[in-house]
């Protein structure tokens, strides 16, 4: 039964967000590309084609698409319970259903954008097939998991107090700097590197980069640590989300 509810919510979400006549789902795919393509080409033009001896395009491509995933998942989930409180008139609809429908849509869109952007850049000769595909998939899997865990926490907290929404904006920009979008752990001084590697998303970036560049670079990804920390964050998020339900007040 919950599958039916989640399916109905997903379709509803597509209708409300994209309208019925417009491009619809195609826009979910196009949206990240519209942002990613100019950014990536501009970067290449300004900074040249190599960074620390690596090709810039694959480096940025494998950094930017996961960044979008995180920002979309987090941004869409802010106060999502409050916004969708009307749905809770139907007792069959739980906040977890609403969450799952939204997350599925974002993840589906992002993965499609990942494939579409890869196809585009591959055709242009800007990126190559990742050297170590299983490692790439593993890293991306952790990236998705991190996005979901973070969204659970943000969604649960934003029901309690409004400052979460205020903090989200600067945080999501800062995230670009410290997440691993721009760097490999190997480029950092050892003390900073050790601190950075506590972050699950930096870990995931390390694995994604290990997948893309294979043996050409030195990476520090640790799947066991990452899985552990993400499991903890997910449990915290689920708890916060359940608690957040108590704060729901309708007009």
């Amino acid at each position: 039964m919950q599958r039916r509810v989640i399916g109905a919510l997903t379709i509803r979400e597509i209708y409300t967000r994209f309208g019925r006549e417009s491009l619809g789902f195609a826009w979910i795919v196009a949206e990240p590309l519209v942002f990613a393509v100019p950014v990536l080409f501009m970067w290449k033009a300004i900074r040249g084609s190599h960074e620390h001896g690596l090709s810039v395009m694959p480096f940025l491509w494998s950094g930017y698409i996961p960044l979008l995933l995180f920002r979309h998942l987090g941004g869409r989930i802010l106060m999502f319970i409050r916004v969708n409180a009307g749905l809770l008139y139907h007792r069959r609809v739980t906040i977890l259903d609403i969450f799952v429908a939204r997350a599925l849509l974002e993840i589906g869109g992002n993965l499609t954008a990942l494939i579409a952007s890869f196809a585009l850049f591959y055709a242009l000769g800007a990126v190559d097939v990742p050297q170590d595909l299983p490692m790439f998939y593993l890293g991306y899997f952790f990236m998705v998991w991190w996005g979901v865990a973070a969204a659970l926490i943000i969604g649960g907290l934003s029901e309690r107090s409004d400052w979460v929404a205020q903090v989200w904006m600067p945080y999501s920009y800062m995230y670009m700097v410290f997440s691993g979008f721009f760097f490999l752990a190997d480029w950092l001084p050892p003390t900073l590197r050790n601190i950075a590697l506590y972050q699950p998303y930096t870990q995931a970036y390390e694995m994604i980069r290990a997948g893309v560049f294979g043996g050409a670079i030195r990476t520090y990804g640790d799947p066991f640590y990452t899985a552990f920390i993400l499991a903890v964050l997910t449990l915290v998020g689920l708890w916060l989300m359940r608690e957040g339900r108590k704060f729901v007040v309708l007009e």
């Binding site: 039964m1 039916r4 509810v5 399916g7 109905a8 379709i11 509803r12 209708y15 409300t16 019925r20 409180a85 009307g86 749905l87 809770l88 008139y89 139907h90 007792r91 069959r92 609809v93 339900r245 108590k246 729901v248 007040v249 309708l250 007009e251």
Partner: protein, 215 residues
Amino acid sequence: MIRTFDVCKEYRSEGRAHRVLSNISFTVERGEKIAVLGRNGAGKSTLMRLLGGVELPTSGSIERTMSLSWPLGLQGGFQGSLTGNDNLRFIARIYNKPFDYIRAYVEDFAELGKYLSEPVKTYSMGMRARFAFALSLAIDFDCYLIDEIIAAGDQRFQRRSHEELFEKRADRAMILASHIGEIVKAYCSRALVLHRGRGKVFEDLSLALDIYNDL
């Protein structure tokens, strides 16, 4: 059966808890109709939302062993930015009913015609009430939560909703928040009187109405 046990609800505002309902306990058996009486602000709508599971009680529990509608009122149950038809599709999907059936029912009952393909937020108050009411009647429940809906709409709509609720669904349970003494007397067998967040069930309807009128 619907059973509430020691249900309390508090809202927080300006850092302080403000109690709206305290220790409400009552049961509604299958087929039974119970009135909820209380002045504005006595907590009727809050109780309806708690019963419907829209909001959760601060403490206490609500047991439901029969299917219970959402609180039927002027709002809730639909989304304004979607068209009438898209709302119907959504409802049909989550309650696993054929869309054609739901659409036919709502079309006939709410008499909205071509407006069904317009966003619900463009409807007038009366149209919205008809839509919301038709929507909830299109799904079959054992017990209906009714929050003042009877007072809405024009005469024809009032007559028809009366027919649908009290004649065609005479065998269903209802929890009916109403100000109208005649309706309460005609259909309910017991009444829960709410005053300042406290509640008491009266088996004697005339007594309940007298007390309510004196509040």
